[in-house]
């Protein structure tokens, strides 16, 4: 099969079809809401009892606010990533998030609204449409997995070995560099935060403020972002220290546990499924802030740590120099 049909299949499955489903669900729920009674059930408590009532237009609004941006974002990520690198398991999972959520909400919310307005009294049993939506979404997503091109394996590339810096016994050396996510990613994160905040405030206002603790979610996400997307990387005689902008987490790799360092080329989405602290498909832990040049620290025992940072060659050369010197000193 040619790569052109691969591209079309990726575009259809990850972007076009989810968007179409979302639009159909939007039109249907909007039409149903226009003829529905003034209030419908919008929330269920424990045991499937209705405990929240609101405008029937809550349904189309939720579908529009959640499905359309998610479809666009995850579809775009999968399509752009598949242009640059072969499709991997990670890319496929990301590409199917939009489809899954869209089908879940289209069937779950759409079915619930339609069944409520079908009979004269509002039937709390319409909650049953959410698990049905989940089931349909799961089946369709698994089907879509096989419609997408086969995932290619991620090879564990050896990386470029880097010659050590020659250090004298007395010499002290330190390599310090900041590793920050590029502006484009930060804007994406800001957009995501705005979306989450909008959904949270909509939810809280629907319940007359009863769910106020939910407002902490955007703050929590902001903290996670701050702790994941700006780091300072330091290499010295103690080893390697990666410190996030708020100090937590700080990852330290003592020099005595390091075997060697090299420079590798990272594909963030395809190999790590995204950005931040990540476990990669190739069994490497990484601080992944962009694609491209990265420092790989091989630890004794076969594990390794990866960080995407500029000037990784200097860092690797210094680590190798420090490791060499430590082993020379140990032999004396």
């Amino acid at each position: 099969m040619t790569s052109a049909t691969h591209g079309i299949r990726v575009q259809l499955v990850t972007l076009v079809i989810p968007l179409l489903i979302a639009l159909v669900a939007l039109v249907v729920t909007f039409a149903v809401a226009s003829t529905a009674p003034g209030t419908v059930i919008v929330h269920w408590g424990a045991g499937g009892r209705a405990n929240g009532y609101g405008s029937p237009f809550t349904y189309p609004i939720l579908i529009a606010v959640i499905c359309l941006p998610l479809d666009a974002i995850f579809g775009a990520i999968a399509i752009l990533s598949s242009h640059r690198t072969p499709l991997t398991v990670m890319t496929k999972i990301i590409g199917l998030v939009g489809l899954f959520i869209t089908v879940l909400l289209a069937v779950g919310l759409g079915g619930s609204l339609v069944s409520q307005t079908g009979n004269a009294s509002l039937d709390p049993a319409s909650i049953v449409w959410l698990p049905i939506g989940f089931g349909v979404a799961a089946v369709l997503t698994v089907g879509a997995w096989f419609l997408l091109p086969k995932a290619s394996k991620v090879s564990r590339d050896k990386g470029t070995p880097v010659a050590p810096v020659a250090l004298t016994i007395d010499e002290r050396a330190s390599w310090i560099h900041s590793a920050t996510a590029p502006a484009s990613l930060m804007w994406g994160v800001v957009g995501f935060l705005v979306l989450i905040t909008a959904i949270v405030f909509f939810t809280v206002s629907q319940r007359n403020g009863a769910l106020w603790p939910v407002s902490f979610i955007p703050t929590l996400i902001l903290l996670v972002v701050l702790s994941n997307f700006a780091w300072t990387i330091r290499v010295d005689a103690r080893g390697v220290r990666m410190r996030s902008s708020i100090g937590i987490p700080t990852i330290t790799v003592p020099l005595s546990t390091i075997e060697s360092a090299s420079v590798i080329d990272v594909q963030a989405i395809a190999q790590y499924g995204g950005f931040g602290m990540r476990w990669g498909l190739n069994h490497r832990f990484g601080v992944i802030l962009r694609s491209g040049e990265a420092l790989e620290i091989q630890r004794r025992g076969g594990r390794s740590v990866v960080v995407t940072v500029d000037d990784a060659t200097s860092a690797a050369a210094l680590i190798n120099g420090l490791v060499d010197r430590a082993s020379t000193v140990a032999r004396l």
């Binding site: 007395d170 390599w175 900041s178 330091r234 010295d236």
Partner: protein, 117 residues
Amino acid sequence: MLLRIDPASAVPLFEQLAASVRSDASRGALRAGDRLPAARGVAESLDVNVHTVLRAYQALRDEGLVDLRRGRGAVVTDLVTHYSELGEAIPRLVSTAKELGLGVSTLTAMIRQEYGS
């Protein structure tokens, strides 16, 4: 940024630190607008006094390679592009000298003469 110092050397530590930053600038590892690492972190990492690092940063400010601003730390200035030009010129100079069979002392003597004129 790669910093190297040798406490056994006769050259003061702050001068060695400044020389390290300069060599990073000339090998193209620093760009205008880059921020040098915080003095406290450097001091901790190299096990030297924080004032030694600050003195090195002040020396670099005096020659115009960095700007020291309160709250922003040491920021590399536009002058850095000239340092990388120098960094490209020196290997060329040395390889020409080697082709002619001239040793390092002869070349430095020639450079010294150029300065004097």
